[in-house]
């Protein structure tokens, strides 16, 4: 049952990315290029997603527990540290260079190209590398 719920969540996410134009790196870079021919599409995607999630979470988190799991697993940390900000900055460089963040990169596998294979392989390598870095910086 968990696997089915996960599939449906992934399917909705993939449909949303594709319909929203986020599986087109040129659109994403066009949004980030504020000095060029600015493409506002990403702000509608992010806005629609955040508002929907904001409302939905408030309804869902009133319940005692999720439908098919023991409890809600929510992040509890509130401090700002170098790993959070440094990691976000490194991610920002990679995102700006490629127009791919992890969701759209994996969602684009149906239209696979050599550069995308390189992107995915290096991203997975980066995840392994990040796990080897000490937890405290």
């Amino acid at each position: 049952m968990k696997a089915l719920m996960g599939y449906l969540a992934g399917l909705l996410f993939g449909l949303g990315l594709a319909i929203g134009g986020m599986t087109d790196p040129a659109r994403v870079v066009g949004f980030l290029d504020i000095a060029g021919a600015w493409d506002p599409t990403l702000i509608f995607v992010l806005g629609g997603a955040v508002v929907t999630t904001f409302i939905g979470y408030r309804l869902v988190l009133r319940r005692d527990r999720p439908l098919v799991a023991q409890g809600f697993q929510l992040p509890t940390r509130r401090d700002l540290d170098a790993r959070l900000i440094g990691g976000a900055a490194l991610f920002g460089i990679g995102w700006g260079l490629s127009g791919y963040c992890p969701g759209p990169a994996f969602a684009s596998i149906a239209g696979i190209t050599p550069p995308l294979i390189a992107m995915l392989a290096a991203m997975i390598g980066g995840w392994f590398l990040a796990r080897r870095l000490p937890a405290k910086s």
């Binding site: 399917l11 909705l12 319909i19 087109d24 976000a88 700006g96």
Partner: protein
């Protein structure tokens, strides 16, 4: 402004939001792609892999379904009916970009979905700071590449 592209963006965003709400309602999990997939692919999520794997399959099958159905719901800037756009750089730049995205989301604990969508919706200070950071750095990166160095990115 391209109204059709923006409207598609809004609909796509709402679907992404519904996905995040669904994952929280059923499995009690944050819909953070880097967290879900790095847990699966680096095998750090013992006994917890099945739903991550099916999530990945769903993520891939969403756009695939639109392609197979010959749907015109795609939203590629240069070819509106297309579902998946071409990369903006070659293999070399993608290797570098992929490594930075992997390491960065790994140590920063999230990406555009985990920090950007779910974190902002939870009004999490950490996620707001992370999102502003990666947005700003990405904007500076594109500015440098396109308008200062003048590369073909």
């Amino acid at each position: 402004m391209d109204v059709t592209a923006s409207l598609h963006g809004l609909i796509g965003g709402i679907l992404i939001g519904l996905s995040a709400v669904w994952l929280m309602a059923t499995l009690g999990r944050i819909a953070g792609i880097s967290g879900i997939l790095s847990g699966l692919l680096t095998r750090s999520s013992q006994g917890d892999s099945a739903w991550r794997l099916t999530f990945l399959l769903g993520l891939i099958s969403g756009p695939l379904l639109l392609m197979l159905l010959g749907s015109d719901l795609g939203n590629v800037a240069s070819a509106p009916a297309k579902v998946i756009g071409e990369p903006v750089g070659g293999v070399g730049i993608m290797l570098l970009a992929g490594l930075l995205v992997g390491v960065g989301t790994g140590i920063g604990g999230g990406c555009t979905s985990g920090h950007g969508v779910c974190g902002l919706a939870r009004v999490s200070t950490r996620s707001i700071v992370a999102t502003l950071t990666f947005l700003l750095v990405a904007i500076i990166t594109v500015y440098l590449m396109r308008h200062v160095i003048g590369g073909d990115v």
